[in-house]
């Protein structure tokens, strides 16, 4: 660059500055004597936690949810309408009411499911009749 060459010719690159005698020799020792102490880093080792301990709170939470759901189901089951209480809402169909009366009487006496099945057969209910009986009970 022409301008740079001009400057170089006129002024050169010499160092016009000076320093006090012994400045650089003393600088390092002066600086090192005044350095602040480095704070030692303290490493705190956190104790290892097993997977079981970590999962315990989650397990307790899951168990409480399951318990809550079971309680709600139990409440629903208890408050749900039973077969006996539906007696007051029996269908007006004569065959259905006869069948219901026969079956209810049998279950009250304490017949087993197989015996009840036999009773149903003897009540001469066909498939449609059974369907009608069940759907009427459900609606009631």
């Amino acid at each position: 660059m022409k301008e740079e060459d001009d400057i170089l010719k006129k002024c050169g690159k010499g160092n016009p500055f000076t320093v006090p005698e012994g400045y650089f020799e003393q600088f390092t020792s002066n600086l090192m004597n005044h350095l602040p102490e480095k704070q030692e880093k303290v490493f705190i080792q956190t104790p290892k936690v097993s997977m079981t301990v970590r999962l315990k709170p989650l397990m307790y939470l899951a168990a409480s949810f399951v318990g809550l759901i079971l309680m709600i189901k139990a409440l629903i089951f208890v408050s749900a309408p039973t077969a006996h209480s539906s007696k007051t809402k029996l269908s007006t169909s004569p065959i259905a009411s006869t069948a219901i009366t026969t079956v209810d009487t049998a279950s009250e006496i304490g017949y087993s499911d197989q015996e009840l099945e036999a009773i149903v057969d003897r009540s001469k209910l066909d498939d449609y009749g059974v369907y009608q009986l069940v759907s009427e009970q459900t609606n009631n």
Partner: protein, 184 residues
């Protein structure tokens, strides 16, 4: 400067808590003089340069844990030193009660009366011209003109692109040449 300076060995010393101070003393001994002259060409006064140099090494000591060895130690130290220079100059401007118009005159007078200045009239003129440059341009000019560093090396120190450095140096040279011509 140390006659035998092994950068890798020094970096290893700096990375161990028991040898960090020993490693730091080596780099202070190795780089204090060259850093001093960079700073002196920025602030001109010896006492100011001494303060800035000490602050630069103090900052380097405080942040020695952050030095990862991915750059040269000299590059890292130069960056710290130039940042300290800029901070010093800005603080001095803010504290100065001298009017801005008189500021340059006062600096010229202080250079002439400085007992640690033994340059020729031409060298004083050059320094007067350098003083008119913005601080960052002054750094670029000094590194290129006096130390003849390659643009790539200056780029790694200052974090400025080579293109921007070339443009900045070109404008700095033009300003200085114009100043000298007008002064003669």
């Amino acid at each position: 400067m140390n006659p035998i300076y092994d950068e890798q060995q020094v970096i290893a010393l700096l990375q161990e808590p028991f040898t960090v101070k020993q490693g730091f003393e080596i780099i202070v001994r190795q780089y204090s003089e060259q850093l001093y002259w960079q700073i002196r060409r920025m602030v001109f006064d010896h006492d100011d340069a001494n303060d800035v140099l000490q602050n630069a090494f103090l900052k380097a000591w405080i942040n020695i844990d952050k030095f990862r060895g991915d750059a040269k130690i000299s590059t890292w130290l130069y960056r710290i030193a130039f940042n300290e220079c800029l901070t010093f100059i800005n603080n001095k401007k803010a504290e100065s009660t001298v009017c801005i118009d008189d500021m340059e005159d006062s600096e010229v007078k202080s250079l002439s009366s400085d007992s640690y200045f033994e340059g020729t009239e031409a060298q004083r003129l050059l320094l007067d011209a350098i003083k008119i440059l913005p601080e960052k341009q002054r750094i670029i000019f000094n590194l290129k003109y006096f130390d003849d560093l390659r643009y790539e090396e200056i780029s790694s120190i200052l974090g400025v692109t080579v293109g921007a450095l070339k443009a900045s140096y070109f404008h700095a040279v033009q300003k200085i040449q114009k100043f000298i011509q007008e002064s003669l």
